[in-house]
Amino acid sequence: MRVAKTGNEAMAEAMRQINPDVVAAYPITPATEIVMIFSQFVADGLVDTEYVAVESEHSAMSACIGASAAGARVMTSTSSQGLALMYEMLYIAAGLRLPIVIGEVNRALSAPINIHGDHSDTMGARDAGWIQIFSENSQEAYDSMIQAILIAERSKLPVMVTTDGFIISHCLEVIDTISDGDVKKFVGEYNPERYLLDIKRPFTLGAIDLQDYYFEHKMQEAEAMKDSKKIILDVASEFNKKFGREYGFYEKYKLDDAEVAIVCLGSAAGTTKVVVDELRAKGIKAGLLKPRVFRPFPYQEIAKELSKVKAISILDRSDTYSAYAGPVFTEITSALYSSNMQIPVNNYIYGLGGRDIGKEEIKNVFEELVTIAKTKKVEKLIGYIGVRE
């Protein structure tokens, strides 16, 4: 069905259709609407979900973890400081191998306090053991939420699906929704192998794990993340077969014959596509690679896709304050290096605190790439876009 939905409405709609057993959540701008809309679904009896209006994000994730360990299908939503407050529990959700799904609306981290979209919150959690799926628009957010529940349960890993705060979360777009019945069929019933409420088979979950076992358990977690790659592609393929929308680790836009390429996540990819088209019209072979799945990081696949490009600019909507580069840049260049590729690259940090990025700025990046492709020289490795210096 074609309907107009904001990113938040799209995520809440996916949650309604998934109809999880438990949602424990705490409101935070710009994700608040998701839990407001969902609470209304609960109040109106449109879902069977037990909703827990907890007193903090730490307790939100703690209650989600408890509920998931108990055997329930569990979802929540948060953003920014909320995700940061969950930080301790994010690692525990992954370490206990609990398939919780978060609708995470990317927002800048304090200080200074700012409510707008950038990726610093999600990037801060990139090594927490969660599968991370970025969305360019409401459609992707909706589709990925539905896929996420299956990915989580099959991989026994938690998943966060992200949108960019305000830019997507509050932007009204026409999306294709799936019927309630089809979503229900697609996500099926959750039947965990082992859970606390299996009263006749009591077990201890969350034991202290010392030098003699901890390493093996963490190794299994690392293996699960590797194994999740196939699961993500399988779920995407099943989704495509049923609903006709294709998803993978990333999206390529006019990349196959591109000479210069931008790599960026989330909403900026939409603007980049427009610029690619404009440059193509002028005869410049521009292209885009938009990673969708950032964890697990598909390093070999991405390196292969970029292997024929002559110059790449990697755009980061967050900084690492490492006196080096943004997180996407370090991942991509590491992927290129380990695949024996020497392609000239540069890194631009953009859009912190929701600072807009426009076509002109992206066009400038491409134009610089054209020069780099010719000279094979990168004058400045790390730069900033759209900031007063």
Binding site: D21, V22, A24, D48, T49, E50, V52, A53, V54, E55, S56, H58, S59, S62, A63, C64, I65, G66, A67, S68, A69, A70, G71, A72, V74, E88, M89, I92, L96, L196, L197, D198, I199, P202, F203, T204, L205, G206, A207, I208, D209, L210, Y213
Partner: protein, 308 residues
Amino acid sequence: MASLKELSKKEELFTGGHRLCSGCGAGIIARQVMIACEKPVVVANATGCLEVASTIFPYTAWRVPWFHSAFENAAASISGIETAYNALKKKGKVKEDVNFIAFGGDGGTYDIGLQALSGAMERGHRILYICYNNEAYMNTGVQRSSATPRGANTTTAPSGKQSTGKMQMRKDLTAIMVAHNIPYVAQTTLSFQSDLMSKVQKALSINGPAFMNVMQPCRLGWIYPPEDTVRMGRLAADTCVWPIYEVTNGVYKLNYKPKEKKPITDWLKIQGRFKHLFSAGNEEVIKQLQADVDKNWEKLLSLCGEKI
């Protein structure tokens, strides 16, 4: 409640083989609580002595579903578990009637976990939260908590040339829980076995949140011989340092009134943590402690409608 003889025949749900200290009160409390359970129970534990010593992977002392995730969130964890139960029961995926108990030490309850506890109590989950209160962070080596009494020597509020140990009065968490207007709040110690167990049964029979503050003498942090643990709890009640009472739907009831209220010095002199208070020049602290106890006791007697 069943007789002690009958209870002794029940299967132990918290078993031996754990690695708590000899004379540890936490193990005694866990065992008594579990014996008191009549329905299937799921236990959530905050990080702390009881957790680290009873579940060293791949071993466990628990014969019930048991869960731990972090230090400050036992109340939030058990909220999630109880909510999952409600969801799965509604769907017919769980058939049994189940009770839910969270254990936290005073660090995980009075301090770092207070917010999660307050939230869970306010939301009205059908849970019993038990604080095994040994009056300091014992698991990490006797650091002060807001449950530590004035004058006690701890490793982060030590006594010294310029200090008589903890300078502040402890927080009255039981009163804070009463202020949540939950159906059942109780205070006891491990030394009053039948009181403790009947309170657990009462708490679990209530359709709502319940909180128990159980004083747990700690031979390591309090510094006394391990065989004296149960005696210590009794002395806490007899000196009125730790009154035994309950508040059911807002109504206070004193469960134990010592025939003769013993002086605070009886309590202080047998514990290494208070040893410095008996040095010359610290008499005022002991006087203050007695005054604190007297004031609290009189207030409680009045709340319980007892004669002062």
